[in-house]
Symmetry: C2
Subunit: 794 residues, 2 copies
């Protein structure tokens, strides 16, 4: 199973890359045509540039068709309606009960796995670092270097090999893919059991290896994987087929579960239940309703209870090197926060710097990821080489740079300062004489979590020298950029927090006596500002920082910093997640239509596509097989010709019956739901062949279906399998409004109906899909549109 | 101006009441028909009960047509499109800048007014209570009673007279109406200047009068009023017509502003910026997008800054009797929270009690409000009498009940305990000898805010006796039920918090040594549970309580309590806001379609309505006047007959051009946009007559328009004024799906197009409005639908 899935995943990544190249190509084509399209500036606005009618829309759509869209719309065909009407009260209660049980299980498992990862990381990294400190104490510097590099190399290799060979989708944070899933784009192989296991082990390996990445993003992905697996009753090949689990075998309920999973993941990462819910709401989810708000909240509550239980257990010392530190991440609640009106100036400066640095980070990371894409495409060995190179570079830097720092005298007031042995989290003596400590080693030779905690620590204004902080800042800027794209599970949160905390603390120290705010709080604000500058979240980040720092008095200044940083960042480029989404070529549908979309009607858009393929209500088998073989569409309008309309209309009317999915056509062919003559079926005939549950399956290809030549001459009655209530738009509606409908209701196909009512007219003149509504695709067919607003993004 | 608006408001309230009676009547009718409709159980599901085709749908719709729906859909007519295309970059920036400026101003003004109300209440109530304490000290008990009752009587009278005579919409909390507004229902006269002023003064009066109501709900309404007034440039008759304010003269932008206002109000009430945003998101708003999340967040940040500034000023003693207490409501951050796994039991009990009591409260309040409705309908005098009766009853109870309590010995450890004079917030000596205090007087003879603070106070386990708490609980249960419906601005939050805190503390005391949680924390949890049990919010309540108590360690148990209380409450009845919405007859559209809505198509729904009135693309004036006079519809489909269709279609096709609003037809008549012959107009002709800004005005009635008989024979070209991109559904779509579309996209009218394509067919067979999609209205036309699921609500 593993091989199979990795094969499929490879294929997916390959095609993604192909799509990406394709995109670049199309882009170039458009630019070549510039001289032509410039003339269109003087044309009336609503006229389309006819030279481009060789529909690149369809072209692009075809290339990425293996990424199927999800069916968030309820498919109201006859079978569904029968099932709906026959559902008893008991079944409804069963459904509700299992929904809540699953939400609880998602929270429980996410909490447990998060604890497991924390425990493993703290212990592996702890013992490793203790050994290194031991070597240095004995002045065996070279042995220490080799030991550190070797162990890190090994840990990285484990993580990278797992990712490269078994589950390529487990690399990276996973959040963009989850975002895309909740938008309706099903990235193949994203939520499988293999991915989950690789993600857990890989995350432990990568974080323990001291790489500049966090476990936060992976935890979100892990939560979502758990949710998806629970919803479908286990891994693909070993599913449990309990009756009450079948209710969840549809995209809508899976979407809700995965939202719960993502929230639980954030909650487990930051111990921030409300922040987790808001993160899902603000950043991840596309559709939201208050019932879901409540259920996600329940999941995160369960996570918190699990984490609290483990904190109590670990406080009694049963978790090895793992103290309470790993779970209560950054508790600065005991700090007395003092600030005055004058502090608005430094706070504004932090916000502006955060915004500038954040957008710069996004920009450079984009370039680096494009470069890495090229390297990673060359094969598995290249991927592995890249990963271990980064690991070796990281280890050498972490080990050698502290020798540049000056030794600091231990402050006898701070009890923790110089107990360098025994626990991993304390100040490091490193190469210094007794009674002294090396401040750079303290934040470099430790886990990332501990480094953040040290930087956030307050009442320690002089513990870290500006030079050390500067080195730290520069190093993590480089590491943050080169580490993210390698083939291991990696989160973006922690690298950004580390950079932000470093420059925040630097700024705090440089403020000196001007400001009354503690340098530790400056570090917190710096981290918040860079997060906002790069990820562009506001309310959820604010709440996460609130819960992280456990200090409500910070709220007003955090809010100001976040707002400024986001505003500044938005002036330059989109958020980092959007950049990654675009880079991965996922057809994510934005919330807002572009302004120029009001100047184009869906009718004009449909003209640019090949004519729509419609099926008859009772269709010949040969035609269906033909259509399925020769098109890649996933939905076909079903139209009845020559029906007898209600009184008052002329004979020979055509009636739109609805939309049928490719998957259901395949089911009909597989089950041999054939009729020897052209007639409509009775209800019992359908019931005999199909159950509603079977129709939910989405497996199969037309190549796998065998139809004899006799059968080819038979008929299929498509009526009972057709979604008889599809959403429609008139051809005169603007693309902007169609997009609002498409995204607002969560569609996969949107039928275009004519505005003319006349005999002989086709009742459906086109189908809109996600690809057709993407700004980029439309602009490649209608390049003059964007120009008309004085040149925007193009 | 005041008189005028009060007249209109009276009319509105009157008609609302009439509608309510109407509703009851219809209900009875349906029940009478029960024996008939019982037989329909055995009919096929999708057959309609033909006996009811005298469309009660239209009937109910007609009765409430004065409550107009709002146009949240963008009306894409030619004028809008021209304006849209001609908007320069500068104008777009101007628009964005003014959006943010307005959001800032909303926050600023809400913060200032909240501070003003706090200051006024604390000082008026403070001096009043000091005088009463003085009389009691001199043992002049009767004088004290008369003084207290008299002052309270006067304050209540001021509030009630203002509300009754000038702005009846200012009575009550206003939150249900805001919720309805954001859902698309424009309650008349809700956001005017008079309402704002009356609400401010009335709220100060009512709260200072010691009535059992809060300033929280009114503050939300005040914030929304400010937002609405700012958006339209001032009160109705004195509007500022700045060019850049004109962009906000549409329902969409006003909706966004009012959302900001509501969030600011909650933030100002509880000093909870994140809670405010979430409250709007979870409870108030119907549509939401992340850009709005960010802007509301900005507004609440401004509010917090304003409040903090005033706290600093008041801390230096410049605010009279007003200490820091009034702004930092309930700060329990200095409490050490300790709880263990065993505490789950009492926490669960609190949650269950909260859910039960909350739903009971909702149920009884519903009955009381129905009764009050009957009294209030009898006239202004009855309204006033009701208000002052409640005031006198409250005053007498507050004054006399403390005599029932035993005197308590002052605890020398607590410094504040027995300083009864000087400030209003301390413990009350009342009738007790020196060195003793009266615990019941301490929580009764004070402001409601102070009472809550006292009940929430921790490390004071024995300060309040169970008997006193029981009396307090019983009294506030009664007061909470009888006070809410009187004609003064009143919030629901505080009465519920008071009841909840009382029983929470009682429970805490009765737990005794079993639990390690402080009775003060029990009070907090009790308040939270009752809020959740009555208002059914989760995440926003959780965050509000978090920010209110300033203690993050409470989070997990608060979450559990809220979840349990909401679950228990939901078993019995809907939330209090939904009950009030229904009681007021506001056509609020629920988020979720009822299950039986899947069994009905919009075509069947349209059959039950009178046939749709369509207009021709170029229509005769006389017909338009006729249609406007004889129908109450606010939108008409515009259809062109006999157009020459694109190639391939038969001649004689009809074309749906779009939908025109009544308001725009009136504008065309008023402006005499007439043509002597039947032809289409040129673009310049339209531009000469209309600007896009003028079309945004919604004033005027057909009776005010004078058309000569010559003009009656002329024509109007409706094309340029028609929204050419209306949303449509096919007649075969289910009501459930139509409702998802209607609410998801935020529509006012939804056209129904036929599924047949034939010559001579009408291209639009019906229009759906908000009223048609309400479950109650549909059920009165199709009563068998609900029965089919084994009897639900009916």
């Amino acid at each position: 199973m593993e091989e199979d899935s990795s094969e499929r995943a490879k294929e997916a990544t390959g095609t993604l890359a192909a799509y990406y190249r394709e995109e670049t190509q199309v882009n170039e084509e458009v630019e070549e045509r510039d001289p032509e399209s410039n003339s269109s500036l003087h044309q009336p606005l609503l006229k389309r540039n006819k030279t481009l009618s060789s529909n690149p829309l369809a072209l692009v759509g075809t290339k990425v068709s293996h990424i199927e869209s999800l069916d968030y719309e309820i498919n109201e065909n006859d079978l569904f309606k029968q099932d709906w009407r026959s559902r008893s009260k008991v079944q409804v209660l069963q459904y509700i009960f299992s929904k809540w049980t699953l939400a609880c299980l998602v929270g429980l498992l996410t909490g447990l796995i998060a604890t497991l990862i924390n425990l493993a990381v703290e212990n592996i990294a702890g013992y490793k670092l203790l050994a290194v400190v031991g070597f240095i104490k004995k002045q065996r510097y070279l042995t220490g270097l080799i030991y550190l590099t070797g162990v890190n190399f090994g840990l990285t290799l484990i993580a990278a090999v797992l990712c490269v060979c078994f589950a390529p989708t487990a690399a990276g944070p996973g959040i963009p893919e989850i975002k895309a899933y909740l938008n309706g784009v099903d990235t193949p192989n994203m939520f499988g059991a293999t991915t989950l296991i690789v993600k857990i082990i890989g995350s432990i390996g990568a974080v323990s290896a001291g790489l500049d990445l966090g476990k936060e993003g992976p935890l979100v992905h892990i939560g979502s994987c758990i949710a998806s697996l629970l919803g479908q009753g286990g891994p693909d090949n070993y599913r449990i087929n309990w009756r009450w689990l079948r209710y969840f075998n549809n995209d809508r309920d899976r979407r809700d579960l995965i939202t719960c999973g993502a929230s639980s993941g954030v909650c487990a990462a930051f111990r921030a239940p409300v922040g987790g819910v808001l993160f899902s709401l603000e950043e991840v989810a596309t559709w939201w309703r208050s019932a879901l708000l409540w259920r996600t909240f329940f999941s995160t509550a369960v996570v918190v209870v699990v984490l609290r239980a483990f904190i109590e257990i670990c406080n009694s010392g049963k978790c090895g090197l793992f103290g309470k530190g790993g779970l209560i991440m950054f508790d600065v609640s005991n700090v007395i926060v003092r600030y005055h009106v004058m502090d608005v100036v430094p706070v504004t400066i932090i916000g502006i710097i955060g915004g500038l640095l954040g957008s710069l980070y996004n920009h450079v990371l984009h370039k680096v990821l494009r470069l890495y894409n090229l390297i990673n495409q060359k094969g598995k060995i290249h991927k592995l080489l890249l990963s271990v190179t980064v690991s070796i570079f990281t280890s050498v830097c972490l080990y050698c740079l502290p020798f540049l720092a000056k030794c600091q005298l231990c402050d006898p007031d701070i009890t923790e300062t110089c107990r360098t042995n025994g626990r991993s989290g304390y100040y490091k003596q490193f190469n210094c004489p007794n009674g002294y400590y090396n401040d750079l080693a303290t934040i470099l030779l430790t886990t990332n979590d501990d480094a953040v905690r040290k930087l956030f620590s307050s009442n320690t204004p002089n513990e870290f020298q500006p030079l050390s902080l500067l080195i730290f800042f520069a190093l993590y800027c480089i590491l943050g950029l080169i580490t993210f794209g390698i083939a291991v599970p990696s989160g973006l949160f922690l690298p950004i927090i580390l950079i932000g905390a470093a420059y925040g603390r630097l700024l705090g120290i440089s403020m000196g006596s001007y400001s009354t705010i503690d340098p530790g709080l400056y570090a917190v604000l710096g981290a918040a500002s860079l997060m906002a500058g790069s990820m562009r979240m506001t309310v959820s980040l604010c709440v996460i920082f609130l819960e992280l720092t456990n200090n409500l008095l910070l709220l007003p200044i955090t809010m100001i910093v976040l707002l400024i940083a986001k505003t500044v960042g938005d002036c330059f480029n989109p958020s980092i997640y959007e950049i990654i989404l675009e880079l991965k070529g996922l057809p994510f549908l934005d919330a807002h239509p572009e302004p120029w979309m009001r100047n184009l009607t869906v009718g004009e858009l449909a003209d640019a596509k090949p004519p729509v393929v419609t099926l008859n209500g009772v269709e010949k088998v040969s035609r269906i097989v033909d259509v399925l073989r020769n098109t890649t569409h996933n939905g076909f309008p079903v139209v009845d010709d020559g029906v007898v309309p209600p009184t008052g209309l002329a004979l020979g009317a055509t009636e739109t019956h609805g939309l049928i999915l490719r998957a259901h056509l395949l089911q009909a062919l597989k089950k041999k739901f054939f009729l020897p003559e052209k007639r409509r079926t009775e209800e019992w005939e359908v019931r005999e062949k199909f159950t509603w549950v079977e129709l939910a399956e989405r497996e199969g290809r037309i190549e796998e279906v065998a139809v004899t030549s006799d059968e080819m001459e038979m008929y299929i009655d498509l009526h009972p399998l057709t979604n008889s209530t599809p959403y429609t738009v008139m051809e005169s509606i603007s693309v902007a409004k169609a997009m609002v409908l498409f995204r607002g209701v969560g569609l996969r196909h949107l039928l275009i109906v004519p505005k003319y009512e006349a005999a002989g007219a086709s009742p459906v003149i086109g189908i809109l899909t996600r690809q057709d509504l993407r700004a980029y695709n439309i602009l490649s067919a209608f390049p003059h549109l964007d120009r008309s607003k004085g040149g925007g993004k193009n």
